[in-house]
Symmetry: none
Subunit: 155 residues, 2 copies
DNA sequence: ACAGAATCCGGCTTATAGATCAACTCAAGT
DNA sequence: ACTTGAGTTGATCTATAAGCCGGATTCTGT
């Protein structure tokens, strides 16, 4: 589940998961996926159900006194939205408007769907292109110094 | 799997893997290969399936909030494209247009296919020649300072 | 509570990109 | 010179994305 595809967001703010990834998700018996914020960049993360389960469990189990940890819990857990396959094995995700805003993705626009192995990212395609060529994003990159407790989680 | 061959990209942006390498891949029971960006130079990397598996697994497992790590994940995982042998044992790879652009390889042009042992590289043949003679590439080389966590991965 | 409006969700159709299949030419070796 | 295999080009076909439409459901305002 690698590589990227340019997809279009329809007039209703929906995103269709590209078939090549869908097929693999089906093959792995994944029944749902979860969309949430990327904690650093103006982008969205998409996790297959099983991956989400382990990441969210790990995040929840962390003690909540460290401000960075709490922030991560809010942004990742608090913005999660689950979708599942339709009876024909297709998947059309309705991106909640807060997530669309966060990732600067408008309706009827192009977006980049990026396969990162066990998870995916969705970018406004202009931002993705800028990233690829080393250009500036419209939103600043956050500098994050991670506490030890997070070093083992790969978001 | 060493040495280099000059190959040509056809009008549709396709690349045929030279027979001498193909045969060795077959002999090693490799069933697919993965093309992706070289993280430093305007060139493409081609990994046999098994090699790709270990590299991509290592990359994914790295903690994902470090900007350098994420950049590597994006460029390597996010640009990967898999191909497999056809029934006759031949292999014709369609190079995605973004990869062609990145490596400055145009349709109907020559390219250099370089065997590096357990992986291959594909260069615009002018750039390859320039590299060989110490001349300047048309695109600057990126300076990359690798964090310790990446020192063990041989891309 | 009801009506109207807006939003959400599924089905259908069509243009297209990409994968497969096939054929031709060239080069090399016997 | 003939045969075989490789490289290259061309053609076809299938799967998919995306646009469109209509029905259903929820929300809102009166």
């Amino acid at each position: 589940m690698f590589g990227f595809t340019t997809i279009s967001i329809d007039a209703k703010g929906r995103l269709a998961v590209p078939a090549k990834y869908r097929n693999q998700l089906n093959a792995q018996n994944e029944e749902s996926i979860v969309v949430t914020r990327d904690p650093q960049y103006p982008a969205l993360k998409i996790y297959p159900g099983s991956i989400w389960k382990s990441i969210s469990t790990e995040l929840q189990s962390l003690q909540g006194l460290d401000p960075i940890v709490r922030n991560l819990q809010w942004t990742i857990l608090g913005n999660a939205s689950e979708s599942s396959f339709d009876p024909k094995g297709r998947m059309l995700i309705l991106l909640p408007s807060e997530l669309r805003e966060y990732a600067e993705i408008q309706k009827e626009q192009k977006a980049s769907f990026i396969g990162m192995g066990n998870k995916f990212e969705v970018w406004n395609d202009k931002n993705w292109e800028a990233r690829q060529t080393g250009g500036a994003l419209s939103t600043e990159i956050l500098e994050v110094v991670l506490p030890e407790s997070l070093k083992t989680i790969s978001f």
